[in-house]
């Protein structure tokens, strides 16, 4: 059956091209407030930390991050100093004078922005009074047994107090913009509005509280979005006060943003406000000076993973490591939200397909999801020890062999190959081989799980029977701990591990943004995502043929679970059928998408949100064209002109791996890369591709 060769160019709506006038940053102060400033507890840390560079580039000395003080964080990440800005110094000193510890310094990350950190504990004695003030502001009370919410209130009260001390020193300018992230920072926003402080406020929701709860409860969330009685749902889940803090913050903000289209839809129903701007999350893209360096890194780290696999499957290494693909899923252990359920089911189907078609491809799948464990299990450690022992034996025999050979050659003789190994050597080798025999199957998990019998991943593996049998073409390894280069088992950092894998699989049901597939992309590793993840939506919007660029988007929104699972299975099976060359080409394309995810481009959404907030707060000073909807010209990644290297299953009824077959594929890396670069850098030069068919804005946004 011939491959479908589509050479059509499709343009999709890309990045908005509004021309924001540059803001007079010298007359403004920008504050970004979040619980995760210098405090790594979740994904928002990554957002703020990576974005700092472009924000300081724009705002310089007038940019400040506000967060909570934790001694350990400050010791390792912050260089404490005195504020240069006299107004800031005065406000900080006022708070200190009232007995609240405030720390000022530079956060030692790229861009080294200023940080203002409040010591929550030192201010806790005000809690009762502040609870009263918060009650007066919004009629929301905070249960005494919710420590996190109480901390959030102290943090918010300190923030609003700081803004009050600061703004009382200014007449006309500078004007303040305060950008708050998530409900933990929201109290500060509510109190600032209550006290009518002259501050332009932006609130960003990365994921709604209620959405996360409802999704985890395996409710058909997205199809019932408009049917929830949200007050009741929050009340029953005993998060009513948190939900109220979040929703009140959203309601009070001058500008409300979410990190993705899908979260905007969620927020519209869970927080009852439409997002003014969608502000996608970016990354700091590391550029290698050498072209395709990422391909070399892939080869290097793949070899490291192969070593691990050699040990893990000792005694069962009857598969060809050169034709073995490494898939992985990683993230917080949220079994169904992260799509581990769908993935396991698809793996079971993939195993079946590969066996039926007698494929020589083996897939080793890693689950990197931290759970409670009692350290590594003995069998796994033994595997690595056995591998090491065989390696040592081989080295030892090789050395003796080499010496004898050398001696023989010095004498001008060809050594007698039958005598070059003496009995001792043979014994050593035999003993080594005997030690590799194993009675059990290679273990599914690398650690002793504390709740082994109830673990959802292990339970599913038991049910579908993926026990790493010899006949299984899909092998599974659950590594219930984050990776570390100091691990005795798999000594690699997460980044190196990702580089060494072939495909990241993240079929999430609930994923407001999804940094994991984004990180894969910038490292040139293809990944599977879904149209329920922020990242998937973003890619669908900006790339015409995502699969060709190594972004497989599973439809989990409009399809039944079984259909989604089949689709995922097809993606995986299709991926397995690619030749090595096709994979290399695909990785090149994937890596080229990095520019799309660079903060240098995505940061402009934040600029737009700030400008909008200023024009709403100080309408006589900051103008904005009234309804200037962001024009949606921008980058567009057309379908690559060569064959998309992602054949679907139906097109291959028989296996064919001949490398020759790819020879006819027209692929010119340089030409294609150049065109992609054009598409990003000069989005308006439409003349380059005259036959492009324009699609209307919104067509892909159902």
């Amino acid at each position: 059956m011939p491959l479908v060769r589509s050479l059509s160019m499709t343009s999709l709506n890309g990045l908005p091209q509004w021309e924001d006038e540059d803001l007079p940053v010298e007359d403004l102060l920008l504050f970004e407030v979040a619980w995760e400033v210098t405090n790594k507890v979740g994904g928002i840390y990554t957002v703020i930390q990576t974005k700092a560079k472009i924000t300081t580039d724009e705002w310089g000395e007038n940019y400040f991050l506000i967060g909570p003080y934790f001694e350990h964080n400050v010791k390792t990440q912050v260089e404490v100093c005195e504020p240069l800005n006299p107004a800031i110094k005065k406000a900080v000193d006022t708070l200190k004078g009232q007995g609240c510890q405030v720390f000022f310094g530079r956060w030692l990350i790229e861009g080294s922005p200023y940080v203002i950190l409040f010591d929550i504990g030192s201010a806790a004695w005000n809690l009762d009074r502040w609870k009263g003030e918060f009650w007066d502001a919004c009629n929301i009370g905070i249960p005494f047994n919710d420590r996190e919410a109480n901390d959030a209130l102290i943090f918010g009260s300190l923030t609003a107090w700081f803004f009050k001390e600061l703004t009382s020193q200014f007449d006309d300018k500078p004007n303040l913009i305060a950008h708050f992230h998530e409900w933990q920072a929201g109290a500060g926003l509510i109190l600032s509005r209550f006290r009518k402080l002259p501050v332009a406020t932006v609130f960003t929701t990365h994921a709604t509280l209620l959405g996360r709860y409802l999704c985890a409860a395996s409710i058909d969330f997205y199809n019932k979005l408009d049917q929830f009685d949200i007050d009741k749902e929050a009340g029953e889940r005993e998060i009513y006060h948190r939900y109220c803090m979040e929703r009140a913050s959203v309601h009070c903000a001058h500008v409300f943003t979410t990190v993705s289209q899908i979260t905007a839809i969620e927020a519209e129903h869970m927080l009852k406000r439409k997002a003014d701007v969608v502000t996608p999350n970016g990354l700091n893209i590391k550029k290698f000076s050498a072209m395709h360096e990422f391909q070399n890194l892939h080869a290097m780290y793949k070899a490291r993973i192969q070593e691990f696999v050699r040990g893990h499957f000792y005694g069962h290494l009857d598969f060809n490591l050169a034709r073995t693909l490494f898939f992985f899923i990683a993230g917080r252990y949220e079994y169904s939200n992260k799509g581990a359920d769908l993935f396991l089911e698809a793996l079971s189907r993939l195993n079946f397909l590969l066996r039926v078609h007698r494929s020589d491809v083996t897939v080793v799948v890693f689950f990197i999801m931290p759970a409670k464990t009692n350290n590594f299990n003995v069998e796994t450690l033994k595997g690595q020890a056995v591998r090491k022992q065989l390696w040592d034996t081989a080295q030892c025999v090789k050395e003796k062999f080499g010496k004898k050979l050398y001696d023989a050659l010095l004498k001008g003789e060809i050594p007698d190959l039958n005598k070059i190994l003496d009995r001792d050597d043979v014994t050593i080798m035999k003993r080594a081989i005997f030690s590799t025999q194993r009675q059990s199957l290679p273990p599914v998990t690398t650690h002793n799980m504390i709740d082994d019998s109830n673990d959802p991943i292990l339970s599913t593996i038991r049910r579908i029977g993926l026990f790493n049998n010899r006949t299984d073409r899909v092998k599974v390894i659950l590594h219930p701990e984050f990776l570390s280069s100091t691990s005795p088992l798999l000594p690699m950092d997460y980044e190196d591990f990702v580089r060494g894998c072939h495909l990241g699989v993240f079929p999430s049901y609930y994923e407001p943004w999804g940094y994991t597939p984004a990180e894969c992309t910038v490292m040139g590793i293809p990944s599977v995502t879904t149209n329920l993840s922020g990242f998937g939506c973003f890619m669908q919007e900006h790339v015409a043929d995502p699969a060709a660029y190594g972004i497989y988007i599973v439809d989990r929104r409009y399809r039944s679970p079984d259909e989604s699972c089949n689709q995922l299975t097809q993606f995986l099976y299709g991926f397995c059928q690619q030749s090595r060359r096709q994979r290399i080409i695909q990785r090149n394309r994937t890596e080229r998408l990095s520019d799309l995810l660079d903060w240098r481009y995505l940061g402009r959404y934040y600029m737009h949100a700030r400008h909008l907030a200023l024009s709403r707060t100080f309408p006589d000073k900051f103008e904005m064209e009234p309804n200037a909807p962001p024009k949606t010209e921008g980058f567009r990644y057309p379908r690559p002109s060569s064959v998309p290297p992602s054949p679907s299953v139906s097109q291959h009824s028989s296996p064919h791996h001949s490398e020759d077959e790819d020879e006819d594929e027209r692929y010119d890396e340089d030409e294609e890369a150049e065109r992609d670069r054009q598409n990003i850098k000069s989005p308006l030069s439409l003349g380059v591709l005259p036959q492009r068919k324009k699609k209307q804005h919104g067509e892909y946004r159902n």
């Binding site: 609870k131 009263g132 009650w135 919004c138 009629n139 929301i140 009370g141 905070i142 249960p143 005494f144 047994n145 919710d146 420590r147 509510i190 509005r193 209550f194 009518k196 949200i230 007050d231 009741k232 929050a234 009340g235 029953e236 005993e238 009513y240 006060h241 109220c244 929703r247 009140a248 309601h251 009070c252």
Partner: protein
């Protein structure tokens, strides 16, 4: 025996729920003693009716109305209101001996053997074991003792502001004189010991005869899911480490007390299988009317802002009513342009 009784005290409708569960648990374990409950005027009329179903005697104590020396004591030391009410238990001279139990306790087996003990027998307090905990104690009603206690209260007050401080001052020889007056801890196992001495709890907890739900969160403040037969709650709450006792409390409440409340129209009909939402809703409405100890019993007046805030802080926001987000939004809109 007719001249011996268990005595408890309920000062509002929430504590009535506790008293009812306590009374029901005593009956369940076949006590042969009388059951007496002291109530204050804050307890609503329907609740009094329910109490009469469970207790042999329901006695109204109104310190303010008594006009006696207790009233005088209260004038001097208004902070001792509830304490003085509790002291009234010494006036029950129709009984020769009594065991007082707080309304936030529950028995797990028959404890009639306590009546063999003498005044004043009690278990040590987990916070300061040289003091006894006044949640469970054996005493002899006597007007003379009552007057001495009142006198002490008037002259010296209570070092902890409550009855426990006063009683420990009065029976100050308890710690050192007679070991027979030390009740084993299993007669007053406070939930605090779960986290203050977990290994001991694991070793001896199964022998417990009386549990005492100390702390601000009382069993009736939790939400119970009758489908899973368990308490819903924040796992960071240390008492949730071993929720068995809470679950037991709720089980008693649902099976024995809720039907009574329904009969008296306090809770809507829920005979066809108890739906957790309805129950909790009904229950939280009950605590709503009981939140204000000084308010007249029935009907519940509109709550003050302070009371509403207090209820939020107990995790009992009325999210389907006064505290709905629409009302919060109206509040916010008063200052947003």
């Amino acid at each position: 025996m007719a001249d011996q009784s268990f005595v408890t005290l309920a000062t509002n409708d929430s504590y009535v729920k506790g008293a009812l569960v306590l009374g029901s648990s005593l009956q369940h374990h076949r006590t042969i003693k009388k059951l007496t409950v002291l109530i204050t005027p804050q307890v609503s009329a329907p609740m009094r009716k329910v109490l009469e179903k469970v207790f042999d005697e329901v006695l109204l104590v109104d310190v303010l109305d008594s006009g006696d020396s207790a009233h005088l004591a209260l004038m001097k030391r208004p902070e001792l209101g509830v304490t003085l009410t509790k002291l009234h238990c010494w006036e029950l001279t129709q009984y020769s001996k009594c065991v007082f139990m707080d309304a936030d306790t529950m028995v797990l087996s028959n404890i009639d053997e306590l009546f063999e003990k003498e005044e004043l027998s009690a278990a040590p307090d987990p916070g300061w074991p040289d003091c006894f905990n006044s949640g469970v104690f054996v005493y002899r009603p006597s007007i003379e003792t009552y007057n001495h206690l009142l006198q002490l209260a008037t002259e010296k007050g209570s070092f902890d502001g409550g009855d426990q401080g006063l009683l420990n001052t009065f029976f100050s020889s308890w710690a050192t004189t007679d070991i027979n007056k030390h009740l084993p801890f299993i007669y007053n196992l406070s939930s605090i010991s779960l986290y203050s001495y977990l290994p001991a709890f694991k070793a001896f907890g199964s022998n417990a005869k009386v549990v005492h739900f100390l702390g601000r969160m009382k069993p009736w403040n939790y939400t119970y899911d009758s489908k899973t037969k368990s308490i819903r709650g924040d796992t960071s709450d240390p008492t949730m480490v071993h929720p068995e006792f809470l679950n037991m409390w709720w089980h008693t409440f649902i099976t024995n007390i809720l039907p009574l409340l329904e009969q008296h129209g306090i809770v809507k009909d829920a005979t066809t299988g108890v739906k957790a939402e309805e129950v909790t809703e009904a229950v939280s409405h009950m605590s709503l009317s009981a939140a204000a100890p000084t308010s007249p019993p029935c009907p519940p007046p509109a709550e003050s802002s302070e009371e509403r805030k207090e209820r939020w802080e107990q995790g009992q926001a009325d999210y389907m009513g006064a505290d709905s987000f629409d009302n919060i939004k109206k509040k916010l809109d008063t200052y947003l342009q």
